[in-house]
């Protein structure tokens, strides 16, 4: 490979090392705001400061690993299904307070189901219906949870 340092840094281990360094940075930014104290009277920052050190040590080890095996790359695979699923959860979080449980759950199911191609609208409608009924039977009737079917402004 032409540029070995870059290859090492973007290899699986190299990116792992960068991830750990980022964790260390977040840790020490927080520790800077906290009182450290002494070993016999530890402040809130003492223990996290030690943990941050571990991140750096492990990160350095992974960096060496990346230098040795720069050919091991991260295989990202299909991004779309992941985005659909995570998007479905975001939509649920946004919709539940304004549109109520029925709409939010239906949207959650439909958006999540699109992640896997090759299904008909009829299948989707049936799935949504069955899951909605099951959710109400299990969570609301059997377990007595407070799930709002309709939004507050409609009741």
């Amino acid at each position: 490979m032409q540029n070995r340092p870059l290859a090492a840094l973007t290899s699986k281990s190299g990116l792992g090392a960068l991830f750990l360094f980022a964790c260390a940075a977040v840790t020490y930014l927080e520790v800077a705001k906290l009182h450290l104290g002494t070993p016999s009277a530890m402040g809130p920052g003492y223990f996290p400061a030690i943990l941050g050190g571990f991140f750096i040590v492990f990160g350095l080890i992974l960096l060496v690993e990346g230098w040795r095996k720069p050919q091991e790359r991260v295989e990202v695979g299909q991004i779309a299904p992941v985005l659909y699923l995570l998007g479905a959860i975001v939509l649920f979080g946004l919709l539940y307070p304004i549109a109520g449980g029925v709409v939010a759950i239906a949207v959650l199911i439909v958006v999540a189901a699109i992640a896997e191609p090759g299904r008909t609208w009829r299948e989707l409608a049936a799935l949504t219906g069955v899951v909605l009924v099951a959710v109400w039977v299990v969570f609301v009737i059997a377990l007595d949870l407070q799930l709002d079917a309709l939004p507050r402004w409609l009741r």
Binding site: K12, F19, P39, S40, P44, P81, I89, L143
Partner: protein, 500 residues
Amino acid sequence: MIDNLILGFQVALSWQTLMYCFLGVSIGMFIGVLPGVGPLAAISMLLPITYYISPTDALIMLAGIYYGAQYGGSVASILMRLPGTASSAVVCMDGYEMTKNGRAGAALFLSALSSFIGGSIGIFLMAGFAPVLSDFALRFGSQEYFLLMALGLVAASTLSEGSAVRGLAMVVFGVLLGIVGLDITSGSMRFVYGQFELMDGVSLVASAMGLFGLSEILSNIGRGSRPDPSGKVTMRSMIPTRKELRDSFPAIWRGSAIGSFFGTLPGTGSTIASFFSYATEKKVARNRARIGQGIVEGVAGPEAANNSAAQTAFIPTLTLGVPGDAVMALLLGAMIVHGVNPGPQMLVEAPEMFWGLVASFWLGNLILLVFNIPMIGVWVSMLRIPYKLLYPAILVLVVIGTYSIRYSIFDIYQLLAFGLLGYVLRLLAFPAAPLVLGLVLGPLMEQNFRRSLMLSDGDFSTFVTRPISAVLFTCIVMVLVAQIIAPLLQRYRARKERPS
């Protein structure tokens, strides 16, 4: 011990508790059969539901899912060559061969029988050893607890699969996540960033569901459909021949011994136990020449091993408060949420809970043995549910479950963040299980670390000068050194072989 067991059965045989036990093992069996949903995901999904029932019933149900899954995992392995759980992967080899030889029924029966015997031996050891161990542990101080947890974390993250450095890094990450929120000693906020909801710390349920429930869906999606289970299993075909039975028993004893041993060690749960048992059968079984072609020892040994390991894994968790793997960490977290302090005091303070659990484990195993066999037809038909219909339903369960703990939309975003984190970790080949282990033990570790050094007036040698802590410290160093030496040795061997 007899008195204690009577007490235990009194608890476990109450109508309601028995129902939760039955529910737990049935769910466990079901998710064990289904490839793609493991006990870890199922327990995290059901964790919020248990907040509404008594702690003993909750634990009995959650534990039932765990050992029930060990029974169920072998069904798909034997019938379809698809391991339902990681620990039943080895059963695929001889189990599926037995199916091809037309002995599927006998394989299923022997696997249930071996599981029952292995599980019973594990429970027996638990009842015998737990009180001894907890008596011993009552003498532990903060130093010993800190080191014991450190040993558990180091062993669990390095002995399991994958790179040791990555496992350890995730333990550190988990411990750090564990201390998010209000620091009780000083009253200051840590890593809260103005989010009021984070004051109580990171939600165990949201993190476990995100890291396991959600990321299992993410990794299973788009894999296409599963093959159809082949062959019909009749009751008649389940009766093993006399020779099959005779050949199975030595393997069951060996498997149980191996499983009981590996179950108690941190980091080496039922998966390693079943692989080790299979390796042993390869060397010593009467029919070893035909291993891999469908011999009963290849099914009976590993099945006994993974079930006895699933039971003995509870010994360190319940008596020391130190979980050996992520499932045990979740159960420990559930106990803490329910206000039960796991550890040596538990046997003294809540004997009915401990012995109730022991008794319910055995009842659960009995239920699994008795109901498993007539239910096999049902499990097989469940395998026909396509995953594309299953995963949206699982997603709804995950989301509603997380929301219902404290009716907080913020927790849904925590779930989302952990799902995303789980995805990134998988891309970078970081294991997620040590993270949850660290998350549960993080606050306890910091507390004991602080207390130890406060008592020793800031002197770090307190971790090596006390006799028990010296032993524990040596163990930690040995595990770490072994992790450094093993790869070096491998490279040395590889280099030696190359020139010749």
